[in-house]
Symmetry: D2
Subunit: 138 residues, 4 copies
Amino acid sequence: MITYPRQVHFHEVDAAGLVFFPHFLTWAHEAMEQLFAGLDGGYAGLITARRIGLPAVRVDSQFFSPVLFGEHVEIETTVARLGTRSMDLRYRFRRRSDGVVAAEVRHTVVSTDLVRVVSTDMPADVRAVAEQHLEAPE
Amino acid sequence: MITYPRQVHFHEVDAAGLVFFPHFLTWAHEAMEQLFAGLDGGYAGLITARRIGLPAVRVDSQFFSPVLFGEHVEIETTVARLGTRSMDLRYRFRRRSDGVVAAEVRHTVVSTDLVRVVSTDMPADVRAVAEQHLEAPE
Amino acid sequence: MITYPRQVHFHEVDAAGLVFFPHFLTWAHEAMEQLFAGLDGGYAGLITARRIGLPAVRVDSQFFSPVLFGEHVEIETTVARLGTRSMDLRYRFRRRSDGVVAAEVRHTVVSTDLVRVVSTDMPADVRAVAEQHLEAPE
Amino acid sequence: MITYPRQVHFHEVDAAGLVFFPHFLTWAHEAMEQLFAGLDGGYAGLITARRIGLPAVRVDSQFFSPVLFGEHVEIETTVARLGTRSMDLRYRFRRRSDGVVAAEVRHTVVSTDLVRVVSTDMPADVRAVAEQHLEAPE
């Protein structure tokens, strides 16, 4: 598990005064960028130099409790399932003010050759990072 | 079912050249705003004058096929389930270029008193709109 | 002049309850996409097939009056200056509710070869569209 | 001067592969939130508890050099002008990779009573922060 701290910014709430729910997915993606930051060239190098991407095929999100402007969340990222070409990332959004998990996102990505736009085996270094953060079997 | 046409804008793709997946949820919310546009004062009036909101508690998304800059999608919105205080909206994102459903989102919202931040029975006019677009039982 | 109608969406206001000011620039860009929609392949074709872009080098914005959720604006787009490789677009954001110009943006773009990332003469068809919407000299 | 480090995220580039220019203004606002983070209750407290805001009335931006995905910028924030009810913030966006200032934004804000939506004298603690970062007269 790694933890990505994220502050709620002024523009990330909606007209109801709560964090607009799609932003949780944006933050999840930022947390994934952080997870893979240690790759040679970082996550950006994977995309732009090596032309391998991790597009989403399924994203399931639950929102348990509202998050407001000025709040900080700690995004706890793990790998819930690891296959040859795909994996499920899990993100828990814990409010810093009270420690409550306000939301949880499960994000299935497929290792993809961005030039030919077809799935491809996960590169060894990507897989190694994923293994390091794989959840223990229950 | 109502259909909300949406163009992919220049800034809605990511570094891999595909629509950034959280934007599908933003578009889904825009489609919901359109669904309830006929309320007195529109969806905005519901939120800002009547102080009733429809925050998401669960959102499940599937992405079947990429969507690129310059594409148009038709977002087909229906109500998949209607309860007293909550409902499930379903959005199908159909590419205009080939008619393919590129993504599907199921969005569970709870009728909420935004002043006290507690669930509340769905107002009659909101419910009437939802009933009008309720999917036929299979 | 062309007019691009734009609704303020639920997520486009900030914690102060007003449209977050950078969104006016996003809307300006959407209006520019509409301005050039009639090109062969549209604005998207210019970028992705012909690999010519119009990146901003200067953007000056004035905000005269707030815009709220539920408001509609009419974005009036003209070309204020037309050079060989650059031009200034002007956008006036008129509130539909009262006809007031709530904001004005002046946007200087440079015709750019996106492969070599150097400026290049404006293509003839881009220039023809710009000329059609050029403001009359005062 | 304070410095706000900001990474370019995966979704912040556009179809031309460059940071979408309105995001520089979003980052500027994030830098302003950091500037005022030391207020009692932070910038969020100013907005949501004290109901004082700093809406923009003018924003002038210059873009000198492109910024790409994977880049980091250091946003150097100063106060270029300080009045009784308004001030000009200046942001320089310095690329970490080569030290070049890629963009500069000048942002005029007006101290505003968000309840009555009228300008109001800048609160003493806001002013004290601004004075601390005021540019030396040339």
